[in-house]
Symmetry: C2
Subunit: 213 residues, 2 copies
């Protein structure tokens, strides 16, 4: 096994070309070519080293790549804004406003948009705070520190409620995602130390939480 | 126009749901549903605010999202490793080793893999150095500072040659991409100032370079 193969063997789970997630199912299994409608097959294209969906008719190669989730840590004095989820997965649990980055926007614009959509909250971006890889579900989270511009926020369509919470008020046993829990831990730890640093990390698969809302 | 619409209007070009790029054409136009093979149409799904490809048969929504390009700035003493491209776009021009992040890997693993593939170079990642949004082609670049572990590098299949270059040796008029030019400018400027900082920015569309290799 050469070094490239070794890195790939460590990086990639058994079937890297099919995105499987118990909670996020935005990508359907691919059966047909989206360009010409013929059947696709899974094969390693010439000059490539990974299996791809390739059209048996027009030979289009359909690449699949990780998605970015972008969001904010909206601050107001000593408190931050959390949203309680009105949608699956993790209905009823608390999260930071965040969601899939859209084509045509920047990471910061996506974070602003998600904060507006989920909490009707207007913020000013202060800087990138945390980047988490979640390779087992093909996602990269980017969370920005942001300053709330006013207190006229309220739950958007995907939230049950929105609330400003201090460190001691955070419902630690009702946090929706590992990324959010880690980000909040780092954030309050940095605040105690008087300096917000940029953090990178990787989230590994976890057993399903007993709390399902 | 409310605030969400205003942010979107500024963020999104005319047809945000179709990826168009003069140079990078990895996504085909979508005509058929990849799940069931029926025709798709472009429509705003219920509860959504953006047009999507939606199947007229099984009603699957086919989201499209930005892709990440990950790579390294491989350092050796006062020089860095550049690759001369053996493929389009920008055949014959110089670039940092970088490419599309794959499913199942982290950003840093992707950067290591691309550095191996394009330059057969083994590096140790030192940290994230630059993040560039390129919203008009739906990409986010992430470039890591990295330390070359040895000098046994050589051109991979997608490179014509690889070379260690000092600041005064960089072929500034033959750099393949705006992201790479900006990253190199920031890098050498930081080095003169004695401190490498993390940089974020956005690359706007540019007129095509007169140099095409």
């Amino acid at each position: 096994m050469n070094v490239v193969q070794d890195i790939r063997a460590r990086a990639l789970p058994q079937r890297p070309y099919i995105m499987r997630s118990p909670t996020i199912t935005r990508l359907p299994v691919m059966n047909f070519c989206s360009a010409c409608g013929a059947r696709v097959e899974i094969t390693v294209p010439p000059g490539d080293t990974l299996p791809r969906y390739v059209c048996t008719g027009c030979e289009t190669i359909h690449y699949e790549n990780p998605k970015m989730v972008v969001g904010c840590i909206p601050e107001w004095e000593n408190r931050i804004l959390l949203c309680r989820r009105a949608i699956e997965p993790r209905y009823g649990l608390w999260t930071l406003p965040a969601g899939f980055m859209e084509n045509g926007e920047t990471t910061a614009q996506g974070a602003l948009r998600e904060t507006l959509e989920e909490a009707n909250a207007r913020v000013e971006i202060l800087g990138l705070y945390a980047l988490f890889n979640i390779p087992h579900i093909n996602q990269v989270y980017m969370l920005f520190r942001a300053r709330l511009l006013d207190l006229d926020f309220c739950a958007g369509a995907e939230s049950l409620e929105t609330r400003l919470l201090g460190e001691t008020e955070i419902p630690w046993d009702q946090i929706a995602f590992a990324t959010v829990r880690r980000t909040l831990n780092l954030y309050f730890s940095d605040r105690r130390n008087g300096e917000y640093r940029f953090h990178m990390g990787t989230i590994d698969p976890m057993p399903k939480s007993p709390t399902t809302g």
